[in-house]
């Protein structure tokens, strides 16, 4: 598959169909993958495509305004481009989407940090309940889409971790999250890696007024994490990059998935379905539930 | 094509010929119908007037037996069984409260994922009319029938999802395919009196008489049905109707599977054509459409 990708990339660059291609290359350690930005035919040799290509490269689109960008996209990540298009952050005509049939990607956190060799692949949580096989749209398709047999665990509940937490008492939940958030160092890797956190200046950085404490303390950390989650409500497409990027292992996907589950149940809303879709919080239905309102 | 087959009580008793002809037709067309082992009553009318929950649990029990066979589609022929199974499925899909209760009773989770199909639907939509035509041994030319669907096959439409609510056409389409001419008549979905047959026979006589009359008036020589109870009311009660209303009807009441069977060249006896009260021999014999009864 990598070969097919390389050839396509060369062709695109030679024919000047794109100015650059955002893709994956082998990382310096020779095992993992890293993002790469290819603007010459020779560099196209670097491109790879395998289970180590975890990154959602849509985050990089903002770095190249007004350029014609080819981008290698996993089917699941395509939805984040849909949201970016919805929110006018990229122009479709500047995009050339190279959809790649996805073999499932690794869970980086499960790699042994001391081991220097290639290890057995443990698939990321999101891949285990992945339902998408065919990309909704694309310009170039690399290899026919097919489901990896190892991944299709029929009937696996994507919200299982959420339900487990929901089943706990409110006090237990507070203790759980208090302990998780206590490790937050406010490095904002979760924000920076997120393709949808593109605000010119995040509210977390604003000072007059400051919206919540920049201090690494419970209030500050809780406020930041709630704000991040709220700002992704109805937008998050569960690429899981925030959780992957978090150096201290806060289960951020469990928060995103909770909101995803609630809005599906409450508002019949799913993020990233189409470019024309109205943002969740910019619209409403007169019959939205309101049982908690007095 | 492989389906779990749910015959139901009628097809094992009064409507034996429906069961026979269905199996024969399926066999001839290479449609595999595997009877659900150890199936139980669908609950029919008595269950749902007694206890709503029971009327859901009984069909679901049957459905999960089918699921255990590894089948995600059940075929049934009886209009009542079809209605009950579809209704139960509908509730399992849309009503969490009932679903949870039923799941407790049957002891297994079930979310309505198994499809329930009527044999009509399978013939027309899965097997296909074109395909059927290709399999015919002969066409039953010259026969005019009224296709009668009764009250359960299309109602309520959000549950049955089968055919046009007011003007169904699946049987008509099949008949046309085998060379039979269906008449245009307005009583396709009238009520025959159904299970009042024993308790309030008078009602059944009146309603069935109207149906027979309309079919006769529109030039039908026979009526084609897809429901055991419709067949029984129109066939069994025809002589009483003739007496009571001073009529002279002599309309054989066929299951659609029987006529299809004939067109496929199947022996009439194998299709249970000898089990009718109003004998079809004269009509079929006279038209020379019948091999042997």
């Amino acid at each position: 598959m990598s070969e097919e990708l390389k050839n396509k990339a060369k062709e695109l660059l030679t024919n000047k169909k794109v100015d650059l291609i955002i893709g994956y290359q082998r990382a310096a350690d020779g095992v993992l993958a890293a993002p790469c930005f290819i603007d010459s035919q020779d560099d196209a040799e670097k491109l790879i495509w395998d289970s180590y290509c975890v990154y959602n490269l849509a985050s990089y689109l903002k770095d190249f305004p007004a350029k014609r960008k080819g981008i290698v996209v996993k089917v699941c990540d395509l939805k984040s481009i849909t949201v970016l298009l919805q929110e006018n952050q990229v122009k479709r005509e500047e995009l050339l989407i190279i959809a790649a049939s996805c073999p499932g990607v690794i869970d980086e956190k499960r790699l042994n940090p001391l081991d220097q060799q290639a290890q057995e692949i443990v698939f990321a949580g999101k891949c285990k309940t992945c339902k998408t096989i065919t990309p909704a749209y694309y310009d170039i398709l690399i290899n026919e889409p097919q489901k990896n047999d190892k991944l299709s665990e029929i009937g696996q509940d994507e919200y299982e971790p959420v339900r487990k937490l929901e089943a706990k008492s409110i006090e237990e939940r507070f203790k759980f999250w208090e302990s998780e958030f206590s490790r937050c160092i406010r490095c904002y890797a979760c924000r920076q890696i997120c393709p949808l956190c593109y605000c010119p200046k995040c509210v977390a950085e604003q000072i007059t007024p400051g919206y919540f404490s920049k201090g690494v303390n419970l209030e500050g950390n809780l406020s930041w994490n709630i704000t991040r989650a709220m700002h992704l409500a109805g937008r998050c497409i569960d690429c899981g990059e925030c959780e992957r990027a978090c150096p201290v292992g806060i289960p951020l996907r469990d928060i995103n998935k909770k909101i995803e589950k609630e809005i599906k149940e409450l508002f019949k809303y799913e993020a990233g379905l189409s470019v024309e879709q109205k943002p969740l919080l910019s619209c409403f239905d007169k019959s939205d539930p309101e049982d908690f309102i007095k | 094509m492989k389906y779990a087959y749910y015959p139901g009580c009628s097809l094992h008793s009064t409507a034996k010929e429906y069961d026979l002809s269905t199996r024969e037709v399926a066999k001839a067309l290479g449609i595999e119908l595997i009877e659900i082992p150890d199936w139980i009553c669908c609950g029919a009318t008595p269950a749902h007037i007694t206890m709503h929950l029971l009327s859901l649990a009984l069909p679901v029990k049957n459905i999960i037996k089918a699921r255990a066979m590894g089948s995600y589609e059940i075929v049934t022929c009886c209009a009542a069984c079809f209605s009950r199974l579809k209704t139960a499925n509908y509730f399992m899909r849309t009503d969490d409260e009932h679903r949870q209760k039923v799941e407790q009773i049957v002891g297994e989770p079930y979310k309505g994922e198994v499809k329930v199909r009527h044999f009509l639907d399978v013939l027309v939509n899965d097997f296909g009319l074109k395909n059927l035509k290709g399999n015919l041994v002969k066409e039953l030319k010259g026969l005019k029938v009224a296709c009668y669907y009764g009250c359960l096959l299309t109602r309520p439409p959000e549950i049955t999802e089968l055919d046009d609510l007011e003007d169904p056409h699946l049987i008509d389409d099949l008949m046309r395919t085998i060379g039979v001419e269906p008449v245009q008549w307005p009583y396709k979905t009238e009520c025959c009196g159904a299970s009042f047959s024993l308790t309030k026979t008078d009602i059944v006589l009146k309603l069935s008489c109207d149906i027979l009359q309309m079919a006769y008036d529109e030039g039908a020589q026979a009526i084609v049905v897809a429901c055991p109870l419709c067949q029984s009311n129109l066939d069994l009660r025809q002589s009483t109707i003739n007496k009571k209303y001073k009529k002279d009807f002599n309309l054989p009441i066929f299951y659609f599977t029987q006529l299809i069977g004939l067109a496929l060249g199947i022996d009439g006896k194998k299709l249970g054509l000898d089990k009718h009260i109003v004998p079809p021999a004269a009509l079929l014999g006279e038209k020379d459409k019948l091999a042997k009864i």
């Binding site: 959420v162 937490l165 929901e166 409110i170 006090e171 237990e172 939940r173 507070f174 203790k175 759980f176 999250w177 208090e178 509210v203 919206y211 919540f212 404490s213 303390n217 419970l218 209030e219 500050g220 809780l222 406020s223 709630i226 704000t227 989650a229 709220m230 409500a233 928060i255 909770k258 909101i259 609630e262 809005i263 409450l266 508002f267 969740l280 919080l281 910019s282 409403f284 239905d285 007169k286 939205d288 539930p289 309101e290 908690f292 309102i293 007095k294 | -």
Partner: protein, 141 residues
């Protein structure tokens, strides 16, 4: 000041829309309905003006309870603001519950300009509920 439980009085912030709830609270005054003094009112043009960040700010500044009150659905002066608020804060409240923040601390109500009685009762009930819930553990004051 938190600390001694017996001295502690619930501190509650109420975001009231200018057209219905603020006027409803005005009518409670005009009708001389007595209710506890714990709710401090911040007037906003519409419940739709309330940003989830305000609620977070309250809770992380040691406020014990937050109330957002607006027009009944269909009565919004701006026609749709309360529908927007409803959706927004339904999600926030679900998230609070999930993160273990007592949902009693964040409430919403529809109070019309004529519902003085409802306003007074709402405040009484709210103060009682927050008293039960105890001081807000978050917040550094």
């Amino acid at each position: 000041m938190t600390g001694d439980r017996s001295e502690w009085e619930p501190k509650i912030v109420g975001f009231l829309c200018n057209w219905c709830s603020y006027a409803g609270a005005d009518l409670a005054g005009q009708s001389r309905l007595e209710y506890p003094p714990n709710v401090k009112i911040i007037r906003v043009p519409c419940s739709g003006r309330v940003n989830p960040l305000f609620v977070l700010k309250c809770l992380s500044s040691g406020v014990d309870g937050v109330l957002i009150s607006g027009c009944h659905t269909g009565d919004c002066h701006y026609s749709e603001g309360n529908f927007h608020a409803r959706r927004r804060f339904t999600i926030l409240r679900k998230l609070f519950e999930y993160l273990g923040i007592d949902p009693k601390r964040f409430q919403m109500a529809w109070v019309s300009a004529s519902e003085a009685d409802k306003w007074a009762k709402l405040v009484k009930g709210l103060v009682e509920e927050i008293r039960q819930a105890g001081p807000n553990k978050l917040g550094h004051r």
